[in-house]
Subunit: 196 residues, 2 copies
DNA sequence: ACCGGAACTCTAGCACCGCTAGCCATTCTG
DNA sequence: CAGAATGGCTAGCGGTGCTAGAGTTCCGGT
């Protein structure tokens, strides 16, 4: 009885260790450095152990992505809470989003760009992501006007996503980053349109 | 004399064959299927030959990307030319952009998302990409207003890029695609703001 | 016409990847 | 205490990008 409980506890702990190791390795050296061998060495077990926890490397990355979603949601919520008026809230959440992507590029990639099979926009979307999306939507609500809020949010979000990914790959002039962010915010939350 | 010219001609032809093979393979089976071995088999030479033309696989992908840029520029130019008024031009070029990304996902990835070391937004940007960007910029010019045209274009482009990449990875509801496109166009080229 | 040298291509192999079969030790059960 | 079941390990498969070195072919000068 008790021993089995301990076993399960240890097992859960090891699973968390795998995710943590993958995340740290990815953040410090990029996803290319995250190999099953290195991961196994990091947690001080052999490779096959990984496969008793996850179906494959993709599943590990997906787990990291879900965890990262939680962080993103927290940061977005904080940015929204710190704002005093609707317009600043949009600017603040946009800045927070971009900052997250820049500060944790590996994590951001896992969540959004890597072809990890996290089915978004469907019923089994991880709650963490839904929360992050909801933060964006609530911040934008006063500016949606006649447009469907979800569609409106998706479009604004795409703008943010495009900005951060294109810039990170060197496709946009870095020095213009803040100007572009401000421009995007201005297009989706122009002054005097808030239906507060 | 003549034999050397023939050699160089054959060599250039083989280089084109490599790029074409990589492109076709990527478009039909995805970039994962593009391995140096398959590529070598496709052009009916051995692997090391590839490395006498390109520094590595990345360089081959970059070459495909540059070629793809040319196609994109052509399609954007056609869309712009077909439009009758500034606003429809923006809508048309946005649709053309999204259609290109959807019709040739592998090519689009090579150009924009794969971490291929094509330095954009710098002096050695391939001319093909500069042309594509210029098409976007010229289409948007009547709507830039007080904003710097280049920054304005970069931001709009980011919006398009975000829409197509997030949708392709299943992060956006596919059925709302056109609505989002229209919404984006409306934000950057609203009615009655053209300074034609 | 021939031979030495340069240019070129191929075979074979390196180190690594994700992943898995099958053995072995430990632990639990009757 | 014997046997079953669990769980981790070693070893290895087929694949990757890339390269060293051998072998062959072709060219230019005598």
């Amino acid at each position: 009885m008790s021993t089995q409980a301990r076993r399960e506890r240890e097992r859960a702990e090891r699973e968390r260790a795998i995710i943590a190791a993958a995340r740290e390795l990815a953040e410090s050296e990029g996803w290319d450095a995250v190999t099953t061998r290195r991961l196994a060495a990091e947690i001080e077990y052999s490779q096959p152990v990984l496969y008793s926890h996850f179906k494959g490397k993709d599943a590990i990355m997906a787990a990291v992505a879900v965890e990262g979603c939680g962080d993103l949601a927290v940061e977005l919520a904080a940015a929204r809470a710190a704002a005093t008026d609707p317009r600043h809230a949009v600017a603040g959440i946009a800045t927070a989003y971009a900052a997250f992507a820049e500060r944790r590029p590996a994590l951001y990639d896992a969540i959004f760009t890597l072809p990890v099979d996290l089915s978004f926009a469907s019923q089994d979307t991880p709650v963490e992501l839904a929360r992050a999306f909801a933060e964006l939507a609530e911040t934008l609500r006063p500016f949606a006007g006649d447009d469907d809020l979800e569609t409106f949010t998706e479009t604004f979000w795409s703008g943010l996503h495009g900005l951060v990914t294109l810039m990170r790959n060197g496709r946009l002039r870095r020095e213009e980053h803040e100007r572009r962010l401000a421009l995007l915010v201005d297009r989706f939350a122009p002054p005097g349109t808030s239906t507060s």
